[in-house]
Every structure is written in structure tokens, then in C-alpha cells.
């Protein structure tokens, strides 16, 4: 029987390897679907999905919305900046109001860690975490692993370095869980101030020399510096950050091997990565975006499968 072992997608932490295999297998089918002349299947025509974004998002929101529409679900969108949240409404009240409109699945991004877990305990709908604070961003990690598998044949045994602002990144934590579950070796690389103190306890290697990290790895997943989450200065200047942790062509050419470059976006061109690298053949950044829709279709489809018809 092919079921997910979980009732919600709250984080990679709650998944097992069979869940990931099932998600990838299902995403393969959806990737074929989204390359058809008519890129739509009717599976979810009686399902309603609410996208609740309590924090800004462009590509994740678009990607989820497209995935939902490709599955024929009805979609409602909500963003906190234009809502009653600003008027003092609690999260549960906001969501219950939305659920009264007969919503089956909630896709939520929230600035607070654990918002998805909290919600899943209080309301009767499937919850998909689209990012909770600096905690987890499970669909991003799934699409990253899926893209690595697509490019290199497997994730097992591969060496992946996550470069940049690890401290403020939900992508990093979800990626660490997902990659380790699939048997990859993971290293984090960045300024000491942007690497969480006890991250080595997760079983990841820590490196502060970018060149050494790149020489070690098969894949470099480059993260953006999240200025909006920084209340103090973690490094002297952007110029210095770029000199020490920016990936450029010269550096890649000096490695003597070709590594795969990934970036979850949005890219700050010229800061963590130069344009010629981001747009090069080694970069699979745009594949990640395409795979994001297929992976999110798989997540939604497999969770929707568990909903009993009325």
C-alpha cells in the first residue's frame, strides 16, 4: 500500500525514506503531466486549498498555487499584509474562519517556528508547511533532493555543501534532514557568526573556508544572506562577505572538477553568487523551480488521497 506515513507535511523531520521515495515517484508522473500540451489533471476537483502566507513569498506561493491549479483544486489566497491579522486576530481564529468556508488543505507560511505543528493540533484540515520561521521548509528540501537525484542519478553517498546564512535558514535545516535521510553527506559553510552553535550535533561537517568546502563537495546549495532576519551585524560588510563566501567562475575553475550549483532563490546576484555562475550549465537553479511544481503536486495529491469524501 502506498501511503504517506504522515497526516500533514509539517517538516522533513517527520518523514521516513519510504515517504520520500513515494513523493519522488509521484512527482515523476506529475513532471510528465506538466510537460503535456494541457498541463492539468482533474484529480482534486472537489478539494479546496487555502494558501495562508503570513510572511512574504513570491516563488513558493506561485509554485504552490500552480501545483494546486494543475491538480484542479479550488484555491483561495490569503496574505497577512492585507488581513485582519493586523487587527489583532489570533492564528486559530483566522484559520477557523477560513475553514468555515470548507477548506480541506491549508498551505501555510508563518514567521513563527512550529506554527504548522500548532495549527495541525487545533484544526481539522491537512496542513502543509510552506516555511515556519527559521525552522523548516520541507517542500524546498524535497525539490532540492529531487533535483540532485535527477541530475546525479541518486542522493545516496553524494557530498552536499550548504553555503551561506545557515543561522536564519529554514532551507538549510530541512535540507540537512532530507539529505541525511537519503544517505548523503552534508557540510555547512559560512561565516562563523551565521552557523548555529551546535549544528555539528546534527551530524554535519562545518567548514569556514569556501574553497575547501567546494573541493570536498559534489553539489553546492547556495543560500542568500537574509538581511530581513538580522537585527545585528553578523559580518562587517557585504563586500567582505562576497570576497570570502561568494561563488564566482574563477573559484569554480580552480577546483579541477565540475560541481552542481543550486540556489533556492531569491538570488542576490553578485553577493553570494555571480551571474555567470548562476546562469551557467553547472547551475540547476531553473530545474529546481520546475521540479518545485511537480514536487508540490505530489505532496498535495498524496495528502489529499487521505481525505475521505463527504
Amino acid at each position: 500500500m502506498k501511503h504517506l506515513s504522515v497526516q500533514h507535511l509539517l517538516g522533513i523531520k517527520y518523514l521516513n525514506l519510504r515517504d520520500i521515495d513515494l513523493l519522488f515517484e509521484t512527482a515523476n508522473h506529475f513532471k510528465e503531466v506538466i510537460n503535456r500540451p494541457i498541463k492539468k489533471v482533474p484529480s482534486l476537483r472537489d478539494i479546496t486549498i487555502a494558501n495562508l502566507f503570513f510572511e512574504n513569498s513570491t516563488r513558493t506561493k506561485l509554485s504552490f498555487e500552480l501545483a494546486e491549479k494543475r491538480l484542479s483544486a479550488d484555491v483561495i489566497n490569503f496574505s497577512a499584509s492585507q488581513s485582519s491579522v493586523k487587527k489583532g486576530e489570533t492564528l486559530i481564529d483566522t484559520v477557523n474562519n477560513i475553514l468555515s468556508m470548507k477548506v480541506d488543505i491549508v498551505v501555510m507560511r508563518h514567521p513563527n517556528v512550529g506554527a504548522g505543528v500548532f495549527l495541525s493540533k487545533h484544526i481539522d484540515a491537512k496542513i502543509i508547511n510552506a516555511g515556519d520561521g527559521a525552522h523548516e521548509h520541507p517542500t524546498q528540501a524535497l525539490l532540492d533532493s529531487y533535483s540532485i537525484k535527477e541530475n546525479l542519478g541518486s542522493v545516496k553517498g553524494k557530498k552536499v555543501v550548504i553555503v551561506g546564512d545557515i543561522l536564519h535558514s529554514r532551507v538549510a535545516l530541512s535540507n540537512i534532514y532530507a539529505l541525511q535521510l537519503q544517505g548523503a553527506k552534508v557540510m555547512v559553510c559560512g561565516p562563523t557568526t551565521l552557523i548555529p552553535k551546535h549544528i555539528a550535533s546534527l551530524g554535519v561537517l562545518v567548514e569556514t573556508n569556501l574553497k575547501k568546502a567546494l573541493q570536498w563537495c559534489d553539489v553546492a546549495n547556495v543560500l542568500r544572506v537574509q538581511h530581513e532576519r538580522m537585527d545585528i551585524n553578523y559580518f562587517p560588510s557585504i563586500r567582505e562577505y562576497t570576497q570570502l563566501f561568494g561563488i564566482n567562475r574563477e573559484l569554480l575553475d580552480s577546483l579541477g572538477k565540475e560541481i552542481v550549483i543550486m540556489h533556492p532563490g531569491p538570488i542576490n546576484r553578485g553577493v553570494e553568487i555571480t551571474s555567470d555562475v548562476a546562469d551557467s550549465k553547472q547551475s540547476i537553479i531553473l530545474n529546481q523551480v520546475e521540479n518545485g511544481v511537480a514536487i508540490r503536486m505530489a505532496v498535495i495529491y498524496l495528502l489529499a488521497q487521505q481525505i475521505k469524501p463527504n
Binding site: M1, K2, H3, T26, N28, H29, E32, V33, R36, P37, I38, K39, K40, V41, P42, S43, L44, L71, Y301, A304, Q305, I307, K308, P309
Partner: protein
């Protein structure tokens, strides 16, 4: 609750078609297709996943090897995401791959499946095939047509054998590619 073994021993199995019968029927079906489609330049054969693909491959092989039809367009269509029983079954639906490496725009499409029962799979296939363009026409070829079991107004254009079986009986088609021999059984579950 009887054990699985017990259930199996209670199941009566009757052979409806043996290898020789199937051999003759497949040749007849291939000839009927030839009559209508002549050189197949504007025709595509589409086997429905999972079990219709064996039949489609066989028919294509006969047309190719015995009637010299070259460049035959043969594809596989998976209808999982178009089914009308999503969330309404106890067992989850499992998808198979779709391979249609040609356009079906303005083509004569022949959908091929092993058993026509309720007609719901074919209804799903009719919707699914539209995702690949607007065909000139769609026909249906089946090996076994279970009469009197239809839930929808769908009938085959080409059929191997028509059978009248009661709803508790199951028609099972096996192919030598998978099960070492070709045969069609009627299995009584009672």
C-alpha cells in the same frame, strides 16, 4: 474471516480463452484495424496502463511483422489522475508512466484495453487523451467485452470476445510477457 488460502481454494477458475484462441483473435483484431486504417499513417495506437499495454504491443507487433506496417505510432497512456474514484477507494491509486512521443492532433486514435467492464476507465481515458491534443476520432479496441456491466454509454469498436458474466465474477487476462502464457480466465469469488 476465512484465511487467504481458504479463499483461494474456494475460487472456481474457468478458462475462457487459451493461447490458441487468443492468437486467432489477435490476428482478427489486427485485420479489422487494417481494414479501417489501411496504412496507419494518420492513426495512433494507445494502450491503457497497466494491462492494456500488453494487448497494444501484441497488435502492433502483428501489424508490423505480418502486415508490414512500418512507423506505427504506439503509445501508453496512464489514466490514474483522471479516474473518478480518487479518495473513494480503500487502496490508493498507483500511477504508471505515460509515453506518447507523438502528437495526436487530428489523428485517428485507437484506445486499447484488455477488459471493458463498467466503462469508467475508458471515460477517464477519453478525458486524459484530450491533454495531448484534439484527435480526429477515437475508437476503442478491447479483448474482452463484459456485456451488461456498463455504468456508462461506452461500447467498443473492435472486440475479441463478448462475455456475459455476473458481477461477482472476475475476468482475468494474463499475457506470456508476464505470466508465461496467454489466457483469459473467469474467476468466481463466491
Amino acid at each position: 474471516m476465512p484465511s487467504k488460502q481458504r479463499l483461494d481454494s474456494n475460487m472456481a477458475q474457468k478458462t475462457l480463452l487459451n493461447s490458441k484462441d487468443i492468437h486467432i483473435i489477435l490476428h482478427r483484431l489486427a485485420c479489422q484495424l487494417l481494414e479501417n486504417h489501411i496504412d496507419f499513417t494518420n492513426t495512433v495506437l494507445v494502450g491503457l496502463q497497466p494491462r492494456g499495454t500488453f494487448l497494444a504491443n501484441r497488435i502492433a507487433k502483428i501489424l508490423n511483422e505480418e502486415y508490414n506496417i512500418k512507423n506505427l505510432h504506439l503509445g501508453q497512456l496512464d489514466i490514474t489522475f483522471f479516474r473518478d474514484d480518487f479518495r473513494r477507494r480503500t487502496a490508493p491509486l498507483e500511477a504508471n508512466s505515460t509515453n506518447l512521443n507523438f502528437t495526436i492532433e487530428d489523428k485517428k486514435v485507437v484506445l486499447i484495453d484488455d477488459v471493458l467492464f463498467s466503462g469508467r476507465s475508458i471515460r477517464s481515458a477519453l478525458t486524459a487523451i484530450q491533454s495531448f491534443g484534439r484527435p480526429d476520432s477515437i475508437e476503442l479496441l478491447v479483448l474482452i467485452d463484459r456485456r451488461f456491466s456498463r455504468h456508462l454509454p461506452i461500447q467498443p469498436n473492435y472486440k475479441g470476445r463478448q462475455v456475459d458474466v455476473i458481477n461477482s465474477e472476475k475476468v482475468k487476462v494474463i499475457w506470456k510477457e508476464n505470466d508465461k502464457k496467454d489466457a483469459v480466465y473467469i474467476i468466481n469469488n463466491n
